[in-house]
Amino acid sequence: MSSSQKVVVTCRVNGEDHTVLADPRDTLLELLRDRLEMTGTKEGCGNGNCGSCTVLADGVAVCACLVLAGETDGLEITTVEGLTANGTRHPVQQALIEHGGTQCGFCTPGIIMSAVALLNEKSKPTDAEIRHAIAGNICRCTGYEKIVRAISSAAETSATARAEV
């Protein structure tokens, strides 16, 4: 294949449609970071082991490094940049701040997306369910406990918010 050959990729990210020229070898992660300049999604391993690049594809948590850019047409992609609406953070984001659940911060966007996928499915997860949901996200700084506490607290906050509506 010619190294300069590009392909047109269409995708929908955080509610916006994009049409970009990409390398046919690009993954969704490269599409997001290099072509769309959305660098909130991180690369820690490039082969689906660490979970730092977790995004939602039609609501399902996936590793963006394992999806080819060319496969994303028709999928609704949500990244960490899509969670903060009108200056209001998602409860998971806010809880991580308050519970000391982010240290170096590199795994944080991926953890957040896994947690959001969980809370979308289950409004009151147990600690075991939370640990299972983020088991694909490796964190090397926190030891996980403050992250688990944060996600659990975010679930309660979300439940309270729903009850008030």
Partner: protein
Amino acid sequence: MNDPGQIDWSQKNSVVGKPLPRVDAGERVEGTAKYPADMALPGMLHAKTLRSPHAHAKIKSIDTMKAAALAGVKAIVTSGDFHDVPVGATIPMGEAGYDMWMVSVINIARDKVFWVGQPVAVVAATDPHIAEAALALIDVEYEALPAVMSIDAAMAPGAPAIHKHVITTGLEPPAQVPSNVCSRSVIERGNADDAISSAAASAAIDTTIDTGHQGYIEPQAMLAQVDSNGFAMVWAATQGQHTTELMISRMLDRPQSRIKVVPVEIGGGFGGKISIHGEAACVLLSEMTGRPVKMVMSREEVFQGGSGPPAAARHRIEVAAEADGTLTAIKGLYRQDCGGLPGLPPSLMMQASAALYQAPNLHLEGYDVVTNKPRTEAYRGPGGIQAYFAMEQAMDSLCQKLDMDPVEFRKKNAAVTGSTMPIGTPFPSIGLTTILDAVSKHDCWTSPLGEGAFPRGRGFGLGYWRGTSMTSACHISISGDGRPMVTMGSADISGTRTTMAQVAAEQFELSIDDVLVTMGDTKSVGYSDGAAGSRLARTMAAAIVEASDKALAELRTRAGRLLQTEPQTLTYERGVFRAPGAAQGGASISLAEIMQATLTDGAILETGVSTKLPLGVEVAAHVADVEVDTDTGQVTVLRYTAFQDVGRALNPTAVEGQIEGSVVQGLGWALTESFDYGDDGRLRNASMLDFRMPTALDVPPVEAVIIETPVPDVPYGLRGVGEVPIVPVGGCVANAVARAIGARVPQMPMTPERVLKAVKGR
């Protein structure tokens, strides 16, 4: 406020000691925090590194013609493009300096390769895919040499000597011929052999510890841009911006006045991001092309020789006691595998391993050995977890033989303030006995272990780390609205901006939101050592106290002038200077009013430099409950409690975060993390799936118990925090396993296979 050690900090405790959220947490959770890999500049090129496929070989020739001809390739560098740094060259760091020859060899191989993954050439191209494709077009002719892959092989008589210039130091008579043993260190007191042979009880263990890894989630990444005047800007995820600048300068023989290093967010370091790993190559490539150059390592590169893992080791410890449990001797033989280049002599690690015990007879003998593995680098209390894996198992075996409670045994033999350290000097302030008292009263030690499907055990282990102080600098300017702005000369790898904002806010009696702390680049703030050795929060706090005092003194002078009052008669509280009788309607003036009136009279710009601050030695005691599946060898950690004396917790959430994270890293190495090198020197598990770091499902909640025994003559009495909580983990878990199955597992990690072998061999 000239003597910070004398201040009664309890009287003003509005910000320091509070569990405040990180000041930089918002950008982390929103994904806007910028790490080097996230940065881009117009016209930017992408660099990729060609790495050695051989563990030991001569480089006979390198032909880059075909690669250079590939469309999109803009420049290629090999060793000939770099300054030839001589053996023995160092840059300033701590007491001994940092080996600059080693740094150069880590960054580019010259004539020989010493491990698989050592850089041989670096390509810059318009696209990372093109740079990657170009690597395959570079022809390197190697002459393979015999590789030495273990401590035993390296120390065997007749082993091929990897380096011609390495001649063992510390031998009597002095060694004459090259060897793979870099140094021999001995610490001796009394006669350990006699004491052991005449003791009522003794115990020994021979341990083998595999190579691990720091496991930072962010692979090394960097960006360089050289302008048309030859001025190089480097954005780096580094533990020390000034160290990075020194290293680039020496590798390229380039004046430091032509380099600026900007520290950006770092995705974990733990000791592995002190050295540069490509920054100098990116500067060269940018200079050659006139375009910015970014390098982002892949995970495989990080593991397969592109970064420095911590040392593998073989340690043998033998200990002896009288019948009443009085320790009489510690004898240790320490061998550490420093990888492809000479490491630090093991004496600091040896001293640390025996430091918490008062033993009249000592014989500690250590060797550091080169092998054809990646050159090792620091990892959280370098060498500590390995040494304590051996020491604490030996001590626990001795307790079993004496039928003595492990905590009571430590109380009987604990080092105390003023007792003699292994190096022969008196111990500085140490809170070990306070910690031991806390353990023996805590539920984690007193509660029953409970029944499980498989055998359970409770283990105890200590850890010690000396830490360091070195030098830290900051400056503080007062902005036009009266708010203090702090610029640090060091990088923030663990939340330092937050804890230092707490210190600055405390000094000025302001809210944390009214101060700003930033990491300065190397051209905007004076020399500081890197964030390493558990030194930064302690020493930077001292620098901030000094600079704050100076700034407040100048503000007081200006306030006196504006209020037409003698400055020394003013009182200062929460951002306001008051003249005598202010409460009765007398004059007062705020920092904002002072700066509004005097900003154009001249900047307030004050510096603080901390050097040779007293050490804040770190002590930790851990308790672990485990259950061992005797059919599979799987170890499950049920409960983990970590006690640590931190002097004073600037921010309890941050301290807990350091302890909890450290323990989980330690559990990883204790149970699953191991680099598996083949005889050909190739790492066979260079991925995060196969190098098995703990997930949230693998570890219990870790309870951190913070104890505060302040260090005299140190602002806020701070001790180092970040390193020691990994030190006891291997030994503590091993002791729990041994008490569960009734047999010792002398290898780390204690994989199911090894545990099962110990179960079967009972």
